[in-house]
């Protein structure tokens, strides 16, 4: 008799919940990163490349040094470097930020696969997790409540960023630059510099999100590691209305939706597996159609971001 039989339909709920916590972490970090970038008025569609680069460099560092947290830091730095490249190129006149993002997507994944070749076989130490499910005798509940450390960090980071964007001098500068470059220039801020820093910070967070993929779940490095979480960041941010704490909820929602298909499969429902997996995309598109208008911008959207017009 297995646990799944005893738990019945609750097994699905628990699996979705556990999946949400496990799968949502990279979503959370890339969407927080993209929020910072877009609050400054630019779009970085290259987070997919940054994510994969972060996964590779984090894993490589952990293999070589045996220190997973050093891997996370190096992954963030690799992401910040690519973010800096994006920011510097977009500082040039008449350069389309979305096109630069897609080129970074190609460059980042290419570099990661090139440099990551030697790391496909060795195994790296895993990041730690908090075991909140030790009280339970059901293995499903236990594995669902293994809360990874980056998820907790991400949660507090979302809280902090929500507060910081609203209440700190830096948050205000970033939002001013993102809402009106003219107003920011008139106030004496260097628009390009602020936007570049926003993109660098976004790149750092996305790199950290990538290190989660290789250092915690699935917890290995190979070329099929990312399933488009980086590309989805832009849509997630719209769903979250450019609000960091909403990014947390939306990441959980996307993670849960991703886990729904496999969870239903464990109880024998395998039809429409792929359509359940695509639920977040249908949901986001529906929300986008519902909340868009030709008359006004979406609520919460930075005024200078090209995708909100």
């Amino acid at each position: 008799m297995t646990g799944a039989d005893e738990l019945g339909w609750w097994g699905i709920v628990i699996a979705v919940l556990g999946g949400a916590i496990r799968v949502s972490t990279p979503y959370l970090f890339v969407s927080l990163g993209e929020t910072l970038t877009e609050k400054g008025g630019r779009v970085n569609l290259g987070l997919e490349g940054i994510l994969v680069m972060g996964a590779m460099s984090g894993y490589g560092t952990a293999v070589l040094t045996g220190e997973p947290w050093l891997g996370v830091f190096v992954a963030g730095c690799a992401g910040a470097t690519l973010g800096l490249l994006h920011g510097l190129i977009c500082n040039l006149p008449r350069v389309n930020d979305i096109a630069v993002g897609i080129s970074l997507f190609v460059l980042g994944t290419g570099l990661a696969f090139f440099l990551g070749k030697p790391f496909i076989n060795p195994s790296a130490p895993r990041l730690p997790y908090l075991d909140l499910g030790a009280w339970s005798s059901y293995p499903q509940i236990r594995s669902a409540l293994e809360i990874n450390a980056l998820f907790i960090i991400g949660f507090f980071l979302a809280l902090f960023l929500t507060w910081a964007l609203k209440n700190t001098r830096w948050g205000l500068i970033l939002r001013t630059v993102g809402d009106s470059a003219d107003a920011a220039t008139a106030l004496g801020f260097n628009v390009n510099l602020v936007r570049t820093l926003g993109t660098v910070a976004g790149g750092f967070l996305s790199g950290v999100g990538g290190s989660f993929l290789s250092l915690y779940y699935p917890g290995t490095w190979n070329e099929g590691l990312s399933s488009g979480q980086g590309l989805m960041a832009v849509a997630l941010v719209i769903f979250a209305r450019w609000n960091p704490i909403y990014c947390f909820y939306v990441a959980l929602l996307f993670g849960g939706a991703t886990a729904l298909g496999p969870a239903l499969q464990t109880v024998g429902i395998s039809s429409n597996y792929y359509l359940y997996g695509a639920a977040p995309y249908f949901l986001t598109l529906g929300l986008l159609i519902y909340s868009s208008s030709t008359k006004h911008r979406m609520a919460g959207a930075p005024g200078e971001v090209s995708i909100s017009r």
Partner: protein, 350 residues
């Protein structure tokens, strides 16, 4: 004396060539770090992409779908839209081709092939056209909607080939029913390259003429240049935007058709190999010009085609060509800021 169009053309050629050369220098430094002589690498790039009959055929085979998916970004871009849905349009085009091809297997082959092509183009056209309509009538940003629609199209494909239209005799991987052998198109006479190349080149040429030499093309350029002006001129903006999206989507849909009827014979995850995303960059490198798309697609096809040889000769990973492509994209996009700034390339006022 030379006219302004000549100077514009020269400007594009000089800047693009300079970006290409700079990229090669940067890539040379990159491979030197990994202990490979850069000049050997350049030679292998040439040999693997363009050096022999076989490598040229490889290059053209790689380039064929890219020409068509690039149109999906290029044509809407001329009207001022940024569409990145080529991947999804290719997939729905492929699905439509299979559905039509399987159900109309009684048709004479020539007619069947034409009908399948129309089905692919129509599916892709409606797919991207819908994104255009959503933008014009509902204000939905076309970049995001087409990005999401890529994922939706891919999910629909996986759903269909995992059950409803799955051919259970194919055990190696989930794939759809196959279209009849008589519906498969072979290779272009004289070359070992499938007909997708001819379709791509002809489509690009036709669209070049349409965009350059017709009233419609001129009107689209006005709209892309300044929407207010187009409004003042009384152009039917909504219809034009949606039509441009349909044309671009039809191109990518046709790429899906050719992948099915010239390469695979069925729909499977082999349709989802990034042709759509590569097409976006080709469109930008070609500055949204259909004629230049042909050349850029061949150039990038050559880089991809030389990957295998590079791997065997130097023991470099197969991602080496992706690094080169990424560097090229970054460099060319950055070089966009040079347009209109190089004094010796500007048309002189008389």
């Amino acid at each position: 004396m030379f006219n302004a169009a000549f100077y514009q053309g020269m400007e594009a050629v000089v800047i693009s060539t300079a970006a290409l050369l700079l990229t090669l220098v940067g890539f040379g430094i990159f491979v030197t770090i990994f202990g490979v002589d850069p000049f050997d690498v350049y030679y292998i790039l040439y040999l693997g992409g363009f050096g022999t009959q076989i490598s040229i055929e490889n290059t053209l085979t790689q380039a064929a779908p890219l020409m068509l998916t690039a149109l999906c970004t290029a044509i809407p871009a001329r009207a001022g839209l940024l569409v990145i849905g080529g991947e999804g349009a290719l997939v729905v085009g492929g699905i439509a081709t299979v559905l039509v091809g399987v159900h109309l297997s009684g048709l004479p082959p020539a007619l069947g092939i034409v009908v399948m092509g129309l089905a692919g183009a129509l599916a892709g056209g409606l797919w991207i056209g819908a994104a255009g309509a959503l933008r014009q009538y509902r204000g939905v940003n076309e970049t995001i909607s087409t990005l999401l629609m890529n994922y939706i199209a891919i999910a629909i494909l996986y759903h269909l080939v995992s059950g409803p239209i799955r051919d259970f005799d194919q055990v190696l991987k989930a794939s759809s029913w196959s279209i009849s052998e008589t519906f498969m198109v072979g290779t272009v006479p004289g070359l070992d390259v499938h007909w997708g190349l001819a379709v791509g080149v002809v489509t690009c040429l036709v669209l070049f003429v349409v965009m350059r030499h017709t009233t419609f093309g001129f009107a689209v350029d006005i709209l892309g240049g300044n929407q207010r002006t187009a409004q003042m001129a009384g152009l039917p903006i909504n219809r034009m935007v949606i039509l441009c999206c349909c044309i671009g989507g039809a191109g990518a849909g046709l790429a899906g058709t050719m992948e099915v009827i010239a390469v695979h014979g069925f729909a499977s995850d082999s349709l989802v190999v990034g042709f759509g995303y590569a097409g976006i960059l080709i469109a930008f490198l070609a500055r949204q010009n259909p004629l230049a798309i042909i050349l850029v697609a061949i150039l990038l096809g050559g880089i991809s085609a030389s990957g295998g040889l590079m791997q065997r000769r130097f023991d470099l990973p197969d991602a080496t060509t992706a690094v080169l492509q990424g560097m090229l994209f970054v460099m060319v996009l950055a070089s966009n800021s040079l347009y209109g700034r190089l004094r010796f390339l500007q048309a002189r006022e008389a």
